[in-house]
């Protein structure tokens, strides 16, 4: 057991920290801030990093990366997440849509889809959830009819993140065989979002701009060479993607950044001596440590060649609850002035950072499998408890 990074890993982290210092605008509030301009910046940022070959450092060399190991990748993700994800929607390509194509894609698909991701030129959305298929994803009904050289897709998805950014491509889970049982008969299609028959309707959210969308598919033609993985076996493809997604975002790093800013704030405003403030901030900081170590535990198991399903869920449970509490308790510490939460407000403490933390984490325990679903996974995989309802 070793709780230290190698000097090589640390040097890598320092280089990226400097790069971020240099590239991020002084008033950068993060991609999730209530600011449509942020999206434009993230495109520029990704192209910039892509040109320098830095966007995909952790991808294998054969796909245009540098094969930086798991721990360098972790440090990189921590920096990006802590800084409010300057890669914008493209973090999804890098964290798991790209790796999913590496794992399941044909040679042609890899050659076609990976280089634009590495250049930072493409935004993807993911279409799994439907109005009647949320946690019970296997209930999905969007249908793809097999016409030999192409599929015809009809149905509706909801909550598709970044579809109106606009997204160029879509990782879409559809039903290809309605007679094969709930979890069989699904397939993953890579869908060009400019195809005729697709309509995107943004859904306004509490977080301000339109991250989430409804997407309607009306007889959309998808060429057969855009089928990812085996026909009718999309459930397994998505399953391995979800594990990657769950440990892909080091939420504890953002939580810790906000806690650190709160510590600065109470020092600057002469409140660092208040016993209650000290207790609350110390508690949050300890929980950041716990969530980080649990993520490191899951990553250590990946490094050892295991598939840490329960550990990934355990890490996610801690991290998402922590992110929510950093918002709640942080605002409690700021008190009434914390109500001013928009960066545009003159008197907003920390430019509204903490209020943003609160609002953007309301659904932290919903997306990528709700808290209850994560607990069900742990109950069944780690504890061997019966399937519960």
């Amino acid at each position: 057991m070793d709780f230290a990074f190698t000097e090589d890993d640390r040097a890598f982290g320092r280089r990226f920290a400097e790069l971020l210092d240099e590239k991020l605008p002084p008033d950068w509030q993060g991609f999730f801030a209530e600011d449509r301009e942020a999206l434009a910046f993230t495109r520029e940022f990704c192209r910039d990093l892509g040109r320098a070959g830095l966007l995909t450092v952790s991808w294998p060399a054969e796909y245009g990366g540098q094969g930086a190991g798991l721990w360098k990748q972790t440090l990189l993700r921590e920096l990006m997440t802590a800084s409010g994800e300057p890669r914008g929607p493209q973090y999804m390509n890098l964290n798991y849509i790209g790796p999913l194509i590496m794992k399941f894609g044909t040679a042609e698909q890899k050659a076609r889809f990976l280089p634009p991701m590495a250049r930072g030129e493409v935004i993807w959305t993911q279409g799994f959830s439907e109005p009647d298929a949320g946690s019970d994803l296997a209930a999905l009904r969007t249908r793809a009819v097999d016409h030999g050289d192409h599929f015809v897709v009809t149905g509706q998805k909801i909550w598709s993140s970044y579809a109106d950014s606009p997204a160029d491509w879509n990782l879409l889970l559809v039903r290809t065989n309605p007679d094969a049982g709930r979890r069989r008969g699904m397939s993953v299609l890579l869908v060009d979002m400019t195809s005729p028959g697709i309509t995107v309707r943004p859904i306004e959210s509490m977080g301000g701009w339109h991250e989430i969308n409804e997407v309607f598919y009306d007889e959309v033609r998808v060429p057969r060479d855009c089928l990812l993985g085996p026909l009718d076996e999309g459930w397994g493809v998505i399953g391995s993607g979800l594990t990657l997604e769950r440990i892909g975002i080091p939420r504890y790093a953002r939580a810790q950044r906000v806690v650190e800013r709160l510590c600065d704030h109470v020092r600057e405003t002469g409140r660092a001596g208040e016993p209650d403030v000290r207790q609350k901030l110390a508690d949050l900081r300890v929980r950041c440590e716990a969530a980080k170590l649990l993520a490191y535990r899951a990553i250590s198991l990946v490094a050892a060649g295991a598939n840490p399903v329960a550990e990934a869920s355990t890490a996610r449970i801690h991290a998402t609850l922590l992110e929510q509490d950093v918002g709640h308790v942080g605002l409690e510490i700021l008190g009434a002035s914390g109500r001013l939460g928009s960066p545009a407000e003159d008197h907003a403490p920390l430019h509204g950072l903490v209020k943003q933390q609160w609002v953007h984490n309301i659904p932290a325990t919903i997306g990528a499998g709700t808290l209850e679903i994560q607990k069900n996974i742990v109950a069944q995989t780690a504890l061997g408890l019966p399937r519960s309802r």
Partner: protein, 401 residues
């Protein structure tokens, strides 16, 4: 970075787990708890034969020269079996104090024997009304002839009745971090032991010290100890470091006990049926078990990290750099990690046992059931070596608040 046990650590854990499963069944624990002696002689011999009593001690004292992390791996398995043992009190807490603050003669006198398990040492630190081990002691030395006399009252001293030597924490000047340390023979005139009962599974004692003679040779961290290779750590710094080691070791033991409580709960959730199904199929029951699991995992890696950090800091010490001006509340090196682990675990382990009792229903409240062996120890753990408020305050200081 690698949060998996090494092959050696896995072997160590398996060996101790085996021993516990074979030689320390719950009924034997019950029997030992009722006995005068309060630990199993057979267990003690096995622990010594396995080299566990000398795990932390340097090779010059016949020890294995291993770290707190290895010790935590061992303690976790002992806790899983609720084994009553003076191992932590003697081979971790007392031995660390003698090792860090003792003269060459004191170390040579005690460490090889403690390491071999032929002597048992224990620390007398808490006093009536004390909130935690970091509080200022009233017990004090007064000069008398060529030496001193010691007067004071200590409570909750584990295994004092079988100890060959007591390390007593006494009041001292600011230069020593406000603490002094003296070695006292429990059989010496003026020492009275009275058994106390805290339900925590190990025998604890009130130790009354009335005008006990203390020779100069029995003062630890004595400035006059010119035979030390390096300047001796002042008593305050030694106590701070030893307390941190003990905090982590006792945390590991508590994690083992909480893991057993989870194991028992999961077993019960699978086998107990109500309303025609195993209660584990009720999601509120299953999710309590999951909450126990996720809390425990967090405790475990916070604990290992603290142990690892103490070892990393300890290597600096070996080079003779234990901070001579070390303050009791700011030991070198692992302040944040230890305080983070203990503050989190105090609350988390309380939650774990609350869930465990709820999942068990009435049976968990009965002395016939094994859960109580662990939940009593869990409460004792929470009330020992600092509460979560104290440790969070340490974290706040480490954050420069």
């Amino acid at each position: 970075m690698d949060l998996t046990l090494t092959a050696e650590q896995r072997l160590l854990a398996d060996t101790v787990r085996d021993l516990v499963e074979r030689e320390c069944p719950p009924d034997l624990v019950r029997e030992i708890e009722k006995s005068e002696r309060g630990f199993g002689d057979g267990h003690w011999k096995t622990l010594a034969d396995l080299g566990l009593t000398g795990l932390l001690l340097g090779e010059e004292h016949g020890g294995a020269g291993q770290g707190v992390l290895d010790l935590a791996v061992v303690a976790e398995q002992l806790g899983w079996g609720a084994m009553p043992t003076p191992l932590l009190a003697s081979a971790v807490f007392a031995a660390s104090l003698i090792d860090l603050a003792g003269s060459a003669a004191q170390r040579a006198r005690w460490l090889p024997a403690i390491g071999a398990g032929t002597a048992i040492a224990t620390v007398a630190v808490l006093e009536p009304g004390a909130r935690d081990e970091w509080g200022a002691p009233d017990a004090a030395l007064t000069p008398h002839g060529a030496g001193h006399r010691l007067t004071g009252t200590k409570i909750l001293v584990p295994y004092a009745q079988v100890a060959d030597v007591l390390v007593v924490v006494v009041a001292a000047g600011a230069a020593d971090g406000g603490r002094g340390l003296v070695l006292v023979d429990p059989g010496a005139p003026g020492v009275t032991l009275r058994r106390q009962h805290d339900g925590g599974g190990e025998p604890v004692f009130e130790v009354v010290l009335r005008d006990v003679e203390v020779a100069a040779a029995d003062l630890l961290a004595a400035p006059a100890a010119a035979d030390l290779p390096a300047a001796p750590a002042v008593a305050g710094a030694a106590l701070a470091t030893a307390l941190d080691r003990m905090t982590v070791a006792s945390l590991a033991y508590a994690i083992g006990g909480a893991q057993r409580a989870l194991d028992l709960s999961v077993e019960h959730a699978r086998s107990r049926r109500q309303f025609g199904q195993p209660i584990g199929a009720f999601q509120s029951v299953a999710h309590r078990c999951v909450d126990m699991f996720t809390d425990l995992e967090a405790c475990r890696y916070l604990c290992y990290q603290a142990a690892w950090k103490l070892d990393a800091a300890g290597q600096l010490d070996a080079a003779g750099q234990l901070d001579a001006a070390g303050q009791l509340d700011a030991p070198g090196g692992a302040d944040f990690e230890v305080a983070a682990a203990k503050s989190f675990a105090n609350d988390a382990i309380r939650r774990v046992f609350t869930h465990a009792h709820q999942v068990h229903g009435a049976i968990g409240f009965s002395m016939e059931h094994d859960l109580q062996l662990h939940s009593r120890r869990g409460k004792t753990f929470e009330l020992s070596y600092g509460g979560s408020t104290w440790h969070r305050e340490r974290v706040a200081r480490a954050l420069d608040l």
